[in-house]
């Protein structure tokens, strides 16, 4: 737990303090998974409204590095999206 808390607090005060332009900033805020935690929406192939958010314009499944969905939920999402595609809902 301690290590996790450190991650949140670790923020450089000024982004201009960097040595070079391409140096990675420490201030990157870790985004939480939108599908886990309390009162998260149910991932189901009938819940088309939710699934459409995680599909691109050309009906491809969005990678988790963009949507910041956790690994466990991403696996569930892909299987449900594929079921919805069979029924022609997406």
């Amino acid at each position: 737990m301690k290590r996790k808390n450190n991650k949140f607090n670790k923020r450089s005060p000024n982004p201009l303090n960097k040595l070079s332009l391409f140096q990675k900033s420490d201030s990157r805020f870790p985004k939480k998974c939108p599908l886990s935690g309390k009162d998260a929406p149910i991932i189901d192939y009938k819940n088309v409204k939710l699934l459409k958010r995680y599909v691109s314009d050309t009906d491809k499944i969005m990678p988790s590095r963009i949507t910041s969905v956790s690994q466990n939920k991403q696996r569930k999402l892909t299987s449900e999206i594929k079921k919805a595609k069979i029924l022609g809902l997406i």
């Binding site: 192939y45 009938k46 088309v48 009906d59 029924l87 022609g88």
Partner: protein
């Protein structure tokens, strides 16, 4: 005994008695092979995201039931032969939630409020 969900997609140019026949046919198959129908939902006429076998629309019928594996084979065998069906899908569940309906049409009275 396990819980299952089964959805059928029929062709769009069917009359209402024909649709009721199809709904009854698969309900009978489940009950004949010692299964138990928990709920039947009619989602109505929905348009597909993409064309399936040159069809643009279809009627959706959704079953929630409890059965053994024999009924699944029976359903699958029947729906492959059936000419009026376009597609079907069965999903196994540990727990069924019968409360939430995603394809329910909203009442006019609720919209006003």
């Amino acid at each position: 005994m396990n819980f299952y969900e089964h959805t059928l997609i029929t062709k769009q140019d069917l009359s209402t008695p024909e649709l009721e026949n199809i709904e009854k046919k698969y309900k009978d198959i489940i009950t004949k092979t010692a299964g138990k129908v928990i709920k039947i939902e009619k989602w109505g006429l929905l348009s597909f995201a993409k064309k399936i076998k040159a069809y643009g629309k279809g009627f959706y019928i959704h079953y929630k039931f409890e059965a053994e594996s024999i009924t699944l084979e029976e359903i699958k065998r029947n729906s492959i032969i059936d000419n009026s069906l376009i597609r079907h899908l069965t999903v196994k569940y540990k727990k069924l939630d019968t409360d939430t309906e995603y394809f329910k049409e909203k009442d006019i009275n609720e919209k006003k409020k």
